[in-house]
Symmetry: C2
Subunit: 369 residues, 2 copies
Amino acid sequence: MNMTELKPANRVLMGPGPSDINPRVLQAMSKPVIGHLDPDFLTIMDEIKSGVQATFRTENDLSFVVSAPGSAGMETCLVNLIEPGDEVLICIHGVFGGRMADIAERAGAKVHKVEAPWGEPIDPQQVKMALEDMQPKLVAIVHAETSTGVLQPLDEISAMVHAAGALLVVDAVTSYCGEDLDVDGWKIDAIYSGTQKCLSAPPGLSPVSFSPKAVAALEQRKTKVQSWFLDLSMVKNYWAGAKRAYHHTAPVSSMYALHEAYRIVLEEGLENRIARHRRNHQELRAQLESLGFEFLVAEQYRLPMLNAVYVPPGLDEGDVRKRLLLEHNIEVGGGLGKFAGKIWRIGLMGESCTSNHIGMLTHALRKLI
Amino acid sequence: MNMTELKPANRVLMGPGPSDINPRVLQAMSKPVIGHLDPDFLTIMDEIKSGVQATFRTENDLSFVVSAPGSAGMETCLVNLIEPGDEVLICIHGVFGGRMADIAERAGAKVHKVEAPWGEPIDPQQVKMALEDMQPKLVAIVHAETSTGVLQPLDEISAMVHAAGALLVVDAVTSYCGEDLDVDGWKIDAIYSGTQKCLSAPPGLSPVSFSPKAVAALEQRKTKVQSWFLDLSMVKNYWAGAKRAYHHTAPVSSMYALHEAYRIVLEEGLENRIARHRRNHQELRAQLESLGFEFLVAEQYRLPMLNAVYVPPGLDEGDVRKRLLLEHNIEVGGGLGKFAGKIWRIGLMGESCTSNHIGMLTHALRKLI
């Protein structure tokens, strides 16, 4: 067996995540590991919890980090809130809405769906109509569809969901720390994200938060959560209990990275960070349009940090994307699901959201297409 | 909100894991992150898979790493092999056997149990008797009970399990890379471990392996795996499929660390590493006995890397353990479950398994007790 010395290429990460990592964050990971119950580590967890609350704009006490990637955060939100037989409404306008429906079905829910064509947001009127025929325990929707680049407005839908007495579950993996997101203001009951998008920490963790109403639903469960690893009735005692009871061994080094990434976000300020993402999106947009790329999504619903564009006719997208990666060290994302081979997804996330990144990408593209 | 600069103490990790990390492993984590579908990353995954195979001593093709800690590896093995209504036999002689039973019940299994007093191994005759009354789909057992320090012999039990036509599922979190473990030789069908014990990588990942017989059981499932995140029918296509299909975003930096940790294990050689753990265990044992500590476990069943000893009468164990940590920067583990307050668990794992570590610990203990 041959395990060679690790020499990863120095890529420029402009796909749908991971994004470039600040050297401060990489250095944080190289600090000495301490025990997952060390009082120093519990203090670090407390500070990370504050970071989760600040970045989600929430005072939710049950704000913490799942010790696994965003998909596990999605599963955490759904399997803790769903009991077998519960009716749920899932909004689907891309891969990740579909994934939520899949997870909800595995958890034993009766899943109702509201769907929009990929590349468009969910129409609130459809949600309203669906809620006239049923009383779901929860409504789940993706705020930033990573497969299509759609930014989903949530205010109207949130009001409808709460009028129907349901819980609102939101996927904010791609919008988190790069677009407006106001968990308390928008009355989101359960939310999950990832660390490797606009937060620019390494992939592998999922910040989540539950409202007091969602916590009440957890406490009223009649059945055990189907996943032991994700069961919040135990996880919460490690994050916030008086005794800080051992549940699983936390990924200490990844938590160091997350801690430093939060410090960087808070130094910049959330508002400044959001403005930076919007500003650079406009700059990239002009460049891409001049190169012949057209946007998939109508202007008002575009995610600034994830630019979904049609591959120009006649372009061998797989070949160009490969040359962009291997000859220019720049990663952009291909299409997912029904958009495979048809669109590119160009990320401007966190540390990768700079004018210099736009310069590198467009300079290389001009040579290749 | 106050997020201070991260300055973790420079601890000496001699508890039940995490263990000390080699600086090479910490440095590997500070290398630039690349995409989870980058061809360079897929090569790294291939090499890690070889590392999993070499360290488990198996040729199982379905050998990979769960993107979450050892508990999620445990859940991966059980929820993929169990369908609702399946009968399973779980051997319990400590916390982690109990955890397996809990997970199996959540997966809908009819759980039968064989139990031994904590601190003792499971008696093969009990397994034999249990198998006379039932035909379980699988028998699960802990090879190295981290809560008690017991090393469970597996050869006799493996023969019984296979004679009964069942699959053998083994927890090797603490024995992995520090004691004899021969997945193919012992006919283990599904095994999971952790990275933060004798492998001395940071916590957060779980190496696992499934035998061809276990893979056949996966393929014959009639129901979906209850967890989307852990569903091997999808995960395996990311690790080994012809298309390397996206499932979730892999924890890239943690995988770098694991890659380097495997290189270090293979440079030392598994046999040498096991011999080192046994040798240092004997040295620690003599020192601990001279200090008045008595072992919980009978000599022939002791785990070399996890020394469970009774707290000497009259010693305020919580206070001494705290002073050991805060005044001497040395972490040892307290008791879990019914042994809380009664035993200590002293780890000699991987990078923490040196004569110098024994010197530091016993020097400090002589001052404190």
